[in-house]
């Protein structure tokens, strides 16, 4: 019984985390057809920025609750800045390249950003753990659970639903979906594709940064955290179908529960539970569970 509760909660918690780190990736791919390997570096930048900002905040002796405001601020400001800088500075000049070449370009960006992170922050670990302990824990049927972790589930749901409403119910969002459907026609119809792309990339980056910021209080922020994340995020979006927000949610749940179940029931399989799910899904549905298939016109 306790084990069941643990699997349910851990799976949910891990899925929420996976969704947070993967949703930006799928958004950017969905609108821009860029599979952004640099996503992992954005996550790392988020985590480091959060640790630095919180360090400064605490050393100023300000009230502890304000830390969450700082985190939110860091996520939005750093995300938008980094996203816009990369989009305006680099990617803008490269649109129209083949999708695979874009993967290599973002891989190059990833390498550059990874080292930039090390040059800025060094190789020693950073901590920002106070917010994680701030809310304490609650007892769920005998299992102590951090309230922070449960809030993370809430954050994932709010961001996911918010993103979905934004894409389907607002003008900008609808325009974005139009761009997905056909870039040339949208441009011909007067949609400002440049604006849509810049917005998408900035929002997608900010989502990766949110992932990093929200995770920073739980971990030691060390070099290499971005590499770990990018592979997990890939697995999630590939399972769900590249470019689909509901797909990312389903993919996160698949991968999250696969991992939680293996941790509790068969820890020896934990290492490749996610890859196994990914390979299985791809073998059955080659383009993921929620994939759009674009037919080719002759």
């Amino acid at each position: 019984m306790l084990k069941t509760i643990a699997i349910l909660l851990d799976g949910l918690n891990y899925s929420a985390w996976l969704f947070l780190v993967a949703v930006g990736l799928t958004l950017i791919y969905g609108v821009m057809r860029i599979l952004n390997i640099a996503h992992g570096a954005f996550y790392a930048i988020g985590a480091y920025s959060c640790a630095t900002a919180l360090g400064l905040y605490y050393s100023a002796g300000l009230p502890e609750a304000g830390a969450f405001l700082v985190m939110a601020l860091v996520a939005v400001v750093v995300g938008m800045l980094v996203g816009l800088a990369i989009e305006r500075g680099v990617l803008r000049h490269l649109y129209g390249q083949d999708e695979v070449l874009m993967v290599l370009i973002t891989y190059a960006l990833f390498l550059i950003l990874e080292d930039s992170v090390k040059l800025i922050w060094g190789v020693e670990s950073y901590f920002a753990f106070k917010p994680y302990a701030y809310f304490g824990f609650i007892d769920v049927g005998g299992l102590p659970y951090q309230v922070y972790d449960l809030l993370m589930v809430g954050l994932a749901v709010v961001l996911g639903v918010g993103l979905w409403i934004w894409l389907t119910r607002t003008r900008t969002g609808r325009l974005m979906t139009a761009v997905v459907a056909d870039r040339e026609i949208s441009a011909a119809m007067g949609v400002n594709v440049t604006f849509i792309f810049a917005t998408t990339f900035a929002v997608g980056t900010a989502l990766a940064v949110v992932g990093g910021v929200a995770t920073a209080p739980k971990i030691a922020v060390t070099p290499g955290i971005g590499v770990e994340v990018i592979i997990l995020a890939f697995a999630v979006v590939v399972i769900g179908g590249l470019g689909s927000i509901p797909g990312a949610a389903i993919g996160a749940l698949f991968a999250g529960y696969a991992r939680a179940a293996s941790v509790h029931l068969a820890p020896e399989f934990e290492l490749f539970a996610i890859y196994a799910v990914m390979a299985l899904v791809l073998a059955i549905r080659p383009h993921g569970l929620f994939a759009r298939t674009d037919g080719r016109k002759i």
Binding site: V100, F110, I112, D115, I231, F272
Partner: protein, 311 residues
């Protein structure tokens, strides 16, 4: 781009001459060259797939299979005969590729990249899990024998270098022949207009299957030679970051000659050994910047400079 590889054997001959002369390099540099040649073969495997427009982010799979085939035979089964272990490495790579090929040849673009990556990561996971094979530490590969003859410790470097150089030249020659063949020409057609190729009566999937298997064979050979050179194998060979390095070299070197990735890998290793001492934490930054510059300024890689010169 061109499909004209009829003269590429001349480049391979040039490579043979260079490698023969390199026998007399200082031993550390020659060793660097030797490991780079082994890695260069994997980059060559990536390169020929790139000719079909396919980027394998999991070529480390075959690098690792080749290395572990040699390692398992030499260290665990007591078979250290060079010809046998290398043959086993190539054959096991080909067999795995023959099995995976029908599935992977259905995929294109990023789905091919992602699926090759996933398969490679599954092997990585399995090896990390395999405590009897040393998990992440891997295990050491004893020196190989040459038709039963085990060279003295001092001479082993010479023997394995000659072996490596010889096999790399042969592999490059065969790949050059393949690229010059009808099947090689079809790769370019797959990359540019697969639909047209189908309407001309040829199977794009078959062309992809063939290149996938050939790439696996040459990568498996690379893994085998790396294991023999360094005397050590570990699961890192199958990690996606290793594969990313091969993609990098293939892209940097270009697709214009069978020898381009091999020379490119050596060039990269040479720069790396010096750059790492100066700026260990800026190395990837340099790599990334070079990669961006090559994509933007020399989309056909450094080899296009060589090609452009005459005319």
């Amino acid at each position: 781009m061109t499909i004209d590889f009829t003269k590429d054997w001349r480049n391979v001959a040039l490579l043979a001459v260079l490698l023969a002369a390199a026998f007399f390099l200082p031993s550390w540099l020659r060793f660097l060259l030797q490991t780079a040649l082994a890695g260069g073969l994997v980059a060559l495997g990536v390169m020929i797939q790139m000719r079909a427009g396919l980027v394998s982010f999991g070529q480390g799979l075959y690098y690792c299979i080749g290395g572990y085939a040699v390692g398992l035979l030499a260290a665990k089964a007591g078979v250290a005969e060079a010809t046998l272990v290398i043959a086993a490495a190539v054959i096991s790579s080909v067999v795995i590729a023959l099995i995976l090929g029908p599935l992977l040849s259905r995929y294109r673009e990023i789905f091919f990249a992602m699926l090759t990556l996933a398969v490679s990561m599954i092997l990585y996971g399995l090896l990390v899990k395999a405590a009897t094979l040393g998990s992440t530490d891997g295990f050491n590969v004893p020196p190989v024998t040459f038709f039963g003859f085990l060279p003295a410790q001092e001479a082993r470097g010479d023997w394995t270098y000659v072996l490596t150089a010889l096999l790399v030249v042969v592999a490059c020659f065969l790949i050059a022949r393949y690229l010059a063949s009808g099947a090689g020409a079809l790769l370019e057609a797959v990359a540019e207009n697969e639909l047209r190729l189908e309407y001309l009566g040829s199977s794009a999937r078959q062309a992809v299957y063939i290149v996938y298997v050939i790439a696996a064979a040459v990568s498996g050979l690379g893994g085998a030679l790396a294991a023999i050179a360094t005397g050590h194998v570990d699961p890192e060979m199958a990690n996606w970051t290793t594969s990313g390095g091969f993609v990098f070299v293939a892209l940097l070197a270009g697709r214009g000659s069978a020898i381009a990735p091999v020379l490119g890998f050596f060039l990269l290793e040479l720069v790396r050994t010096y750059a790492l001492d100066i700026a260990p934490n800026a190395w990837q930054l340099i790599l990334g910047a070079v990669m961006l510059a090559v994509i933007l300024l020399l989309p056909d890689g450094l080899w296009s400079l060589v090609r452009r010169a005459p005319k």
